[in-house]
């Protein structure tokens, strides 16, 4: 059996010596699947335009990315976390506990959240946030009383909408998109329908009423999608009455399959989102571990390249793909250039 031992030990030694010699020379990124396309565009261009190796960008969702980001400092942790929402206090604390204290927050632009249905299905052209809440809220206001959601078709609560069965595919809780969906659609819808007031009138505290407004019905009319937008697209493809929640860029790339619904009368586009007319949009971020700047080659250069006018500006490839560029991009550039961390007056 000696030759077996010999080969195994030789291989083990070779593997160990190889890893000891190889310090990481590439930037490692993980996080939001909404930011992933933009990050991959920048990563490819970064590899083509500089002498640094192409960064590795992983997906997995904002929360998962920030969790890995906060695991600690060192070569075996990621350098940048992409997020489609702002970092939470809880996450900053978790980071600090693991020694990740200096975090640079970089806002790369805005993304619109669009509601879209099958290209050949019925048109949804009179949406307001209240309709979405009426469709999928667990408890809604009917004739002045809070009841378990009884609605079966869209026309049940808004005569301007088609009388087809409700089928809503919304982002699951591990998506950063979920938070915007809750804040800007469900909560506002709850307030707009008067359900919020009725809940508080029935003795609920404001916090409880807010939590209750975010509960969605569990009878199969609303489905949470934890996967990528392609999964939502597949569900919409299979259901002519289904309405899905997408990012603007994804919708624009699949216009031949998807028909967009207007929200409060405004069709989503980079222009209406930039001016703030279209109500459901959110900023996109990435977070840089300051301790890694100067240790991982190309990290700061990558961040600077990402937010440069040429890439993230209104005529750059990111805007062409569907990102709504940040009107205050110069301030973001200054933050990256000065490596200004969270808490240093951001």
């Amino acid at each position: 059996m000696s030759y077996v031992k010999l080969t195994t030990s030789a291989l083990a030694i070779a593997a160990l010596s190889a890893t000891a010699a190889a310090a990481r020379d590439n930037v490692q990124v993980a996080g939001s699947s909404t930011v992933l396309p933009y990050a991959s565009i920048v990563a490819e261009a970064f590899g083509e335009n500089t002498d640094f190796p192409t960064p590795v960008v992983e997906s997995g969702g904002s929360s998962a990315g920030l969790k890995r980001f906060c695991e600690g400092v060192g070569e075996n942790t990621i350098d940048i976390a992409n997020a489609s929402r702002q970092i939470r206090e809880k996450e900053i604390k978790a980071c600090a506990e693991n020694g990740v204290t200096d975090i640079v927050e970089v806002r790369i632009g805005y993304d619109g959240i669009v509601f879209a249905s099958q290209q050949t299905g019925p048109a949804f052209n009179a949406f307001v946030p209240a309709d979405i809440f009426n469709a999928i809220g667990a408890q809604v206001l009917v004739d002045g009383a809070i009841v378990e959601n009884p609605h079966q078709t869209w026309a049940d609560f808004n005569g301007d909408l088609p009388a087809v069965e409700l089928a809503m595919f919304s982002p699951g809780t591990k998506h950063g998109t979920r938070e915007v969906f809750e804040d800007k659609v469900l909560l506002e819808g709850c307030e707009a329908t008067g359900a919020m007031e009725a809940m508080m009138a029935s003795g609920m505290s404001e916090d409880d009423a807010e939590d209750a407004s975010l509960d969605v019905r569990q009878d199969g009319k609303s489905v949470d999608i934890d996967g990528d937008y392609t999964e939502t697209l597949a569900r919409i493809d299979a259901n002519p009455n289904g309405i899905g929640v997408f990012g603007l860029a994804f919708y624009e790339n699949n216009q031949d399959k998807l028909k967009v619904a207007t929200m409060s009368g405004i069709a989503p586009s980079t222009e209406t989102i930039a001016t703030g007319e279209y109500p459901v949009s959110r900023p996109l971020f990435f977070y840089v571990k300051k301790a890694h700047i100067g240790v991982i080659p190309g990290l700061k250069e990558f961040a600077m390249f990402f937010v440069s006018d040429e890439l993230a500006g209104p005529t750059g490839p990111l805007a062409n793909y569907g990102l709504v560029s940040d009107p205050e991009l110069d301030q973001v550039q200054a933050i990256v250039a000065n490596e200004k961390t969270l808490g240093e007056g951001m």
Binding site: M1, V4, T7, T8, L11, A14, A15, A18, T19, A21, A22, R24, N26, Q28, A30, S33, L36, P37, A39, S40, I41, V42, A43, E44, A45, G47, E48, N49, P53, T54, V56, V57, E58, S59, E71, G74, E75, N76, I78, G227, D228, Y229, T230, A249, F250, E252, N253, N254, Q255, D256, F305, S308, E310, L311, G316, P317, N320, Y321
Partner: protein, 444 residues
Amino acid sequence: MSDASLQSPSAAPARKGSLHRQDERTRKRNAAEARFRGYGIAAIAVGVFFLVVLAFSIIRSGVPAFTHTVLDVEITLTQQQFDEAEAQLFKTKAYAGYFNATLTAELERRGISVPFDEAAIERLAGKVGGTLREFYRANPDQLGQPVTFELPASSRVDGYFNGRVSRDTLQESRFLMLADLDLVDALSEAGIIHGTFNWNFITGADSGVDNPGGAGIGASVVGSFFMMLVVLFLSLPIGVAASIYLEEFAPQNRFTDLIEVNISNLAAVPSIVFGILGLAVFIQFAHLPQSAPLVGGLVLTLMTLPTIIISTRASLKAVPPSIRDAALGVGASKMQAVFHHVLPLAMPGILTGTIIGLAQALGETAPLLLIGMVGFVARGYPDGFIAGFTEPNSAMPAQIYTWAARADASFYDKAWGGIIILLIFLLTMNIIAIILRRRFERRW
């Protein structure tokens, strides 16, 4: 046979009629048999039907990935233009600008009848800047000389050529206008734009989401290759040593029973569990590099080991005891009996098991999710043999998974194309396994 004789062997009553005429029970039994044959054939037919449907849909969806649409353009770049582009931050965009200007001038010179503007040219062309920059940096002597390039068209034009985009269903957008298709037709007539075999898909690396034309599976094939090397050179010796010991040397007691049960259990563990283990042990504890084929290979080794141990033990068991007895009888030691006589005879079975285990590992995505091999990993080919193990790379199934999740429908074709390549590898490995078995297997 008739069952009348079985019922009453001694006192056979006088049979009415001929043996050739079947009685009621025989007919029933024969009918049952015929029915069962029918079920069997139906089951096979259903299986074959699904296989044909699957193969057909894979090939139909995957073939477009192997062709792409290119623009033939002759470009002359001056030293001054080169210096200006290199002085910018976003250099490849400057190169793309030169390409668009050249193509516009060329169309004007040829007097193309369809009206067009520079924005339309931009929509037609794929991402060309990277290719141009790479060429001129490698061949500075070509500056000032006319060079003919074959550069990819945009994914929408590509879709128009292979039928994914049609005039009827096209929704005008900033990616493609209806008028652009007239221009494409005119260019096609002039011979500037044409379809060709997409070598880049077979040899290239992954590309950004706005550049489906540049995506290739080559780099991830290399990544898979290095992972399989790790799996082969770790799991074969360890697996064979473990099973020889358990089968030939180990005493039969509770402890070895426990080990045996656990090996069978390990074979049934979902592969994602090995991914979590790999993340915790190899990356967070042992500090091995992320996204590296080395770690991927180690994780897949854990997954393949039980398969190899089980098949090796089965083929060791299949060697008749008379071989061992004869060897021991002429004075061989136990080890000599195993290594000189039993192991060579068991080798075809061991190799078959190993190859099937490797094929299984080759198609595995779940464990790779957690160790950073799924995502955008576009490093191209590794710099050397050792770097092949440690530099970030993707693997074939991970690459397919990544493509399938992208917004641009063109990547969906690439995913199917990737599946074809992956299946070719798997089929080849299985055929090798079958040939080895047929050639060397001994039957007793």
